[in-house]
């Protein structure tokens, strides 16, 4: 039987030691009325047969598309070192590091991951990650609620709608008030947000680059939030963060991110990586796993899970969250990715993404009837207005192997003609040229 080593002799030996006549006897407590009414599963298959089936399924998915899809999730180059190192069995077949002496590899890697995230975001503390960027935003809101003992959240509509709908689901049973401040042509409405913050506000939530790709300096907004006793939460892009003004420099209290762009494949939605960092006075509010540096009985440095008193296995119903693990392997991928590229490599990556996106924006805006949604600075993604319905334009181009972007009308009624276009360092100028020509052909 696959993966089960027990021979008939082994089974006899074990049954004899137990003093049982058969294996079935061990299940005697499950009475006849509790036995399965059916267990109608297919017969087992050989490894070769399963792989053949999965290869056939994989082949049913589109391949070789020239894609400009982003919407917060990007197809970056992943250095070969990432797969090679993270597929070492001692990393990926390990458990949560409850026995620190036998888990120094995982623990030191998490400590280094936390350090790298703090350095990227310019913040003081980080946790060992949560499920994804959306979960990180929700947990940041919970941190703010605990810190301020308030329940009102002011949220920019330019924050990814994917995260905002998650937030709505997550908070439905918690008596929170979510106040959404509309975007202005895809730009974050700083004045509107500032006005919406009041003495009951727990947190203000913004994103830069926002869902439309616009980059914003939130320094004044965060100062206003602080004056009102509210917590500032910003969602950032970790790749671009190597060149953009940092959440720390803007005075954010909590900075979160989707870490997928740091060495994780798109994989149809997961697993991804929720990055959480914060200012010093928020660290004890941080949920999930945190690794700390300490010393062993001989004074040698080592690492342990720390601040565990906040956690569910000790505090049960009063824990900071119900999260009992982290995306350790995804965090390791992000760390190996960052170390492989290094400071300069990440900056070049960000630089290429920005340059390609600006080239694409220019090529598209040269087409008749196409214009930028706004004149805000942008990084690797931007929104344009088309003279036609974006869904239909996408549909026609996709049939020819090019996905020109994401239709903003999917989440923003009234923006049916708007297209969100993303580039990465993998997007070549040639591909941009082909996309622009095809779109031009459609509009002509």
């Amino acid at each position: 039987m696959p993966f089960i080593p027990h021979t008939d002799d082994d089974v006899r030996t074990m049954l004899a030691t137990i003093g049982a006549g058969s294996v079935e006897e061990l299940f005697a407590e499950i009475g006849p009325d509790l036995r399965p009414r059916s267990f109608d599963l297919p017969k087992g298959m050989s490894e070769m047969a399963v792989m053949a089936r999965l290869e056939a399924l994989a082949a049913k998915n589109a391949s070789g598309l020239k894609s400009f899809l982003g919407a917060g999730f990007y197809d970056h180059h992943i250095p070969a070192t990432v797969d090679a190192l993270t597929s070492r069995g001692e990393f990926y077949t390990a458990y949560t590091p409850y026995q620190p002496e036998a888990s120094q590899g995982t623990l030191q890697a998490i400590y280094e991951f936390q350090s790298a995230m703090c350095r990227l975001m310019d913040m003081h503390g980080a946790n060992a990650s949560v499920y994804d960027g959306g979960s990180a935003i929700f947990e940041a809101m919970m941190m703010a609620a605990r810190k301020t003992r308030r329940r009102r959240f002011v949220i920019s509509e330019a924050v990814s709608p994917i995260y905002r709908i998650m937030l709505t689901s997550y908070t439905i049973n918690l008596n929170f008030e979510l106040v959404t401040v509309p975007h202005v042509n895809g730009m974050t409405d700083l004045a509107g947000l500032t006005k919406a913050i009041d003495a009951e506000t727990a947190a203000v939530l913004v994103q830069s680059p926002n869902f439309f790709g616009c980059i914003t300096d939130f320094s004044d907004l965060f100062a206003a939030a602080r004056a009102a006793g509210a917590v500032s939460v910003v969602c950032a892009n970790p790749v671009l963060q190597s060149v953009l003004k940092t959440p720390g420099a803007m005075g954010a209290d909590v900075a979160v991110a989707e870490g997928q762009g740091l060495g994780l494949p798109l994989s149809f939605g997961g697993p991804y990586l929720g990055v959480m960092t914060c200012a010093k006075d928020m660290i004890r509010q941080m949920p999930g796993r945190i690794v700390g540096k300490t010393v062993d009985a001989e004074g040698k440095p080592g690492y342990v899970l720390t601040l565990q008193a906040r956690e569910q296995h000790i505090r049960r119903a009063k824990a900071t969250s119900n999260i009992c693990s982290n995306q350790a392997l995804c965090a390791l991928r992000a760390l190996v990715h960052l170390c492989s590229l290094g400071e300069e490599g990440l900056k070049r990556t960000a630089g290429l993404c920005i340059e390609r996106a600006h080239y694409a924006a220019k090529r598209l805006c040269d087409l008749p009837g196409v214009s930028m949604m706004n004149d805000a600075p942008f990084g690797n993604e931007f929104a344009v207005r088309l003279p036609v319905n974006a869904y239909e334009a996408i549909d026609k181009l996709t049939a020819k192997g090019v996905v020109p972007g994401f239709p903003l009308g999917r989440y923003y009624p009234g923006l049916e003609n708007c297209l969100l276009v993303a580039c990465t360092e993998k997007t070549s100028r040639e591909d941009i040229g082909i996309m622009a020509e095809m779109l031009g052909g459609l509009l002509a």
Partner: protein, 480 residues
């Protein structure tokens, strides 16, 4: 060992892409740019490879060590499933593709995996519907509690509390609390949920009981049928924590047994790697009366065989994940289920239970076994006898590390003093089980004859015992 930051040397070249023609300052106003470098490590590629190879050697994993961690089901992680998840047709697929007009056609293979796996999980558990969205076991618990809340709200039931037995995982009460419920604990009697104790707290305000069966003591909940009837009476739902599903595959289906909600830890029962803490995958199954509340989107097979995502479920609890859950993880579980098939899955539970009872029997002369009767796939021993000479469960755990075994779960569940919770799983050979038991017996002997030697453990690992108090007090959680 030095951190990767300490090893950094400015100017060392890593995996650099070509430089852009112009820097970001050509496109973005200076006020929006970073004013000081992020100070990420600068290393050669070989530096990076050596650093992480060295770190990996400081880790125990199932590939290198026996990992009898109770309630965690650390079985062997098949290698071919990794290859399957890395197929470019899966790994390269953008998650928003199916949101484009008619673009479900571009990801039929992925949608078919989701549809097929949901149906397999329904058959394995006897539930009416499944969602693959929750991204970990605890996330599944939260989604499950949200489903319970949605059910009661829709019926106009006023429900305020969720009952958790004292043998429950710590995540159960935390998840119920996060779904807005007050948590009521009940004590076990003889290690299992007692209908009389339940009757004391069960009332019209009870939304649900969260149960693990077999529970965290490795015991089957014998009063299950009676408990189901009691809950039905109050229109309270029964939640199944699937962490211990490995014990009952093909022997009991939680749907048939009367459970309304179940979360499965695919990384446990279906052998996807734990990754040092994650990613996992925590699909949630529901009985017929809860299907309409499942998260969106839901995958559907049309009559012409086409798979589509269906967002039109007005009573849905909404979105718990950005997309469709940890696709690459559940893809591995899917491959695992196909490989084992019906007979293989039944054998999983049979051999897991056989191995646990064998170890329990071999250890009973040397350790106190608080509930020494037929167990399921795990059992609980206690070091109370050893503690009399000053050797505690934690010392025994550390001594096992010196022997090359990962330690069992200790001090959990909280209701057993000096608790040592052993779960061997079905994939460990008799030789491995015997070696572990022999080593444990040897440590028990030393606890009596030379307790100091056990208290000093570990001595063979990269570090000796670590000062956890200092870590919390001085709090060095990042190299800044």
């Amino acid at each position: 060992m030095k951190t990767v930051f300490e090893k950094s040397r400015p100017g060392r070249e890593g995996v650099w892409p070509d430089a852009p023609q112009n820097g970001p300052e050509a496109y973005i106003p200076a006020a929006l740019l970073r004013s000081s470098p992020a100070r990420l490590p600068e290393l050669s590629e070989l530096d990076v490879v050596r650093h992480f190879s060295e770190l990996s050697r400081k880790n125990f994993g199932v590939d290198s060590n026996f990992y009898p961690l109770g309630s965690c089901t650390m079985k062997y992680n098949p290698k071919f499933t990794e290859k399957a998840a890395a197929l470019p047709g899966f790994a390269g697929l953008h998650p928003v593709l199916p949101q484009l007009q008619g673009a479900g056609r571009l990801c039929q293979g992925a949608l078919e995996v989701m549809h097929d796996l949901e149906r397999l999980l329904c058959e394995i558990t006897g539930m009416a519907g499944f969602t693959l969205h929750p991204m970990a076991g605890a996330h599944g618990e939260l989604a499950g509690c949200m489903l319970i809340a949605a059910y009661h709200h829709a019926k106009g039931n006023v429900k305020k509390k969720v009952i958790c037995p004292d043998s429950a995982h710590g995540t159960n009460p935390a998840s119920a609390a996060l779904a807005g419920y007050e948590v009521v604990n009940i004590e076990s009697v003889d290690g299992i949920v007692d209908p009389a104790k339940l009757a004391e707290v069960l009332d019209d305000e009870t939304a649900a009981l969260m149960m693990t069966c077999p529970n965290t003591l490795g015991l089957f909940e014998r009063h299950l049928p009676e408990i189901v009837a009691m809950l039905r009476e109050k229109d309270a739902l029964l939640y199944y924590d699937g962490a211990n599903l490995n014990a009952i595959l093909g022997k009991m289906r939680v749907g048939d047994a009367g459970f309304d909600v179940v979360h499965l830890n695919l990384h446990k029962t279906f052998g996807t790697p734990h990754g040092g803490g994650g990613p996992g995958s925590g699909p949630v199954g529901v009985s017929e009366r809860l299907v309409e509340f499942l998260p969106v989107s839901r995958v559907k097979k049309l009559e012409d065989g086409l798979f589509v995502l269906d967002y039109n479920h007005p009573k849905s609890i909404g979105y718990v994940a950005p997309f469709y859950g940890n696709f690459a993880v559940y893809l591995k579980a899917y491959a695992y289920i196909l490989r084992l098939g019906r007979e293989g899955l039944v054998r999983v539970s049979e051999n897991a239970v056989l191995a646990a009872n064998y170890m329990r029997k071999r250890l009973e002369q040397h350790f106190q076994i608080p509930y020494n009767r037929t167990c399921m796939h795990e059992f609980v021993a206690s070091a109370v006898e050893q503690a009399k000479s000053g050797v505690r469960a934690l010392d025994i755990a550390k001594a096992l590390l010196d022997k090359g075994h990962h330690a069992p779960t200790v001090y959990f569940p909280l209701i057993v003093k000096e608790c040592i919770m052993v779960e061997p799983t079905e994939t460990e050979s008799l030789e491995t089980l015997d070696r572990f038991v022999d080593d444990l017996i040897e440590i028990a002997g030393r606890a009596a004859s030379d307790p100091a030697s056990v208290q000093a453990a570990p001595v063979t690992l990269p570090v000796r015992r670590l000062d956890e108090t200092r870590a919390a007090r001085d709090m060095d959680i990042a190299s800044l």
